[in-house]
C-alpha cells in the first residue's frame, strides 16, 4: 500500500458511519485479500481488545460498587471528557477559519439538537446531513 492509498483508505473510513478504526481495518484488509482479508484484519483488530474488555467487564460487574474503583473511574472520565473537548477544538479550528461560513452553523445545529434538545441521533442526522452536503455542493 502506498502512502496515497493509505490516505485514501483513511479518509474513506473517517467519512463512513460507525467506528472509524473498524472501518479502516475492513477497507485496508479488503485491499489485500478481498472479503477474507477484511475478515482477518477485523479479527486481528477486535479480537485481543475484546478479550481484555470482557475481563474488565467481569471485574466491573464484581467490584463496580467499590468506592475506590468508582473514584478512580470518575477521575478518568473527567480527563477523557477533556480529551474529547481537545479533539473538538482541533477539528473546529480549520472549519471556523475557512470562508465556508455555513459549516460552523451546521456543527452548532447538530450540537444543539443532540446535546441540548436531546433529539434522537438518526433524526438530527437525517435532517442536517442532506442540508450540509447540499451546502457543500453549491458553495464549491
Amino acid at each position: 500500500m502506498t502512502a496515497e492509498e493509505f490516505n485514501e483508505a483513511f479518509a474513506l473510513s473517517q467519512f463512513l458511519p460507525g467506528p472509524n478504526v473498524v472501518n479502516f481495518s475492513v477497507v485496508f484488509g479488503s485491499r489485500f485479500g478481498g472479503a477474507a482479508g477484511a475478515a482477518v484484519a477485523l479479527a486481528g483488530l477486535m479480537g485481543p481488545p475484546l478479550i481484555i474488555v470482557l475481563i474488565l467487564a467481569m471485574l466491573y460487574a464484581r467490584f463496580g460498587d467499590l468506592e475506590i474503583l468508582s473514584r478512580i473511574l470518575v477521575g478518568i472520565t473527567a480527563a477523557a471528557t477533556g480529551m474529547l473537548i481537545a479533539v473538538v477544538a482541533k477539528m473546529a479550528a480549520p472549519l471556523f477559519r475557512k470562508r465556508w461560513n455555513w459549516a460552523p452553523l451546521v456543527a452548532i445545529a447538530a450540537f444543539i439538537g443532540v446535546a441540548i434538545l436531546q433529539w434522537p441521533l438518526p433524526w438530527v442526522f437525517l435532517v442536517l446531513a442532506p442540508i450540509s452536503i447540499a451546502l457543500a455542493w453549491v458553495t464549491r
Partner: protein, 175 residues
C-alpha cells in the same frame, strides 16, 4: 437467561452504527439516551464508568458497546451489541471500498465528505457535553476536564498518562 434485551440491544446499536459519523466519539449521546434514559439498562454512573473503562482499554473506543452489552445481558449481550455496532458498517465499508476509488474526483463525493465533517464535529461536541454533565459534578472534576482539554489541544502527550494521573487524583474523593 431471558433473551428479552437482546433484540433491542441489536436493533438500537445496529441503527446507531449507521448514523454515527465520527465513530464512537459521535455516538455517546445517543448511547446514553438509549441505555440510561429510554431503556433504563444502567444509571448515569454506570454509563460514565463504561466510558472510562473503554477509554483505558486497548483497541477502538467503540468497545464501550461491548461493556454496555455485557452489563445488560452478560456474554450474549456483549456479543450482540458488538456485532450490531460493527456488522452493518463493516459490510458497508467493504462494499464502498470497492467502488469509492473510481469516484475520487467526483464532485458529489467531495460534497459528501465536506458536508459530513461539520455534522460529525457537532456530534462529537455533543458527546463531550453529555459526558461532562454526567461526570463533572464537582469543581475539581471540572478543573481536571479543562486542564486535560488544554493539554490535549496544545501537546501530543499520550492520553493514558493523563488518565492515570486523573484516576489517582480521583482516589482523593474530591471529584
Amino acid at each position: 437467561m431471558n433473551d428479552g434485551p437482546l433484540l433491542p440491544l441489536f436493533g438500537y446499536f445496529a441503527l446507531l452504527s449507521l448514523f454515527a459519523v465520527g465513530g464512537a466519539n459521535a455516538a455517546i449521546p445517543e448511547m446514553h439516551r438509549i441505555a440510561v434514559e429510554v431503556m433504563h439498562w444502567m444509571n448515569d454512573r454506570q454509563f460514565a464508568d463504561s466510558f472510562a473503562i473503554a477509554q483505558v482499554s486497548p483497541g477502538p473506543n467503540i468497545i464501550i458497546v461491548t461493556l454496555i452489552g455485557y452489563h445488560v445481558a452478560g456474554f450474549a449481550g456483549a456479543a450482540v451489541a458488538t456485532a450490531a455496532m460493527c456488522g452493518p458498517t463493516c459490510v458497508m465499508a467493504f462494499l464502498v471500498a470497492r467502488t469509492w476509488d473510481r469516484f475520487s474526483e467526483a464532485r458529489w463525493r467531495i460534497a459528501i465528505q465536506a458536508g459530513l465533517v461539520p455534522v460529525s464535529l457537532g456530534l462529537i461536541a455533543a458527546s463531550a457535553f453529555v459526558l461532562a454533565r454526567t461526570a463533572d459534578h464537582t469543581i475539581y472534576a471540572v478543573i481536571i476536564t479543562a486542564t486535560t482539554a488544554l493539554i490535549g489541544f496544545a501537546t501530543r502527550i499520550n492520553p493514558l498518562w493523563i488518565f492515570a494521573i486523573s484516576g489517582l487524583l480521583g482516589i482523593s474523593g474530591w471529584l
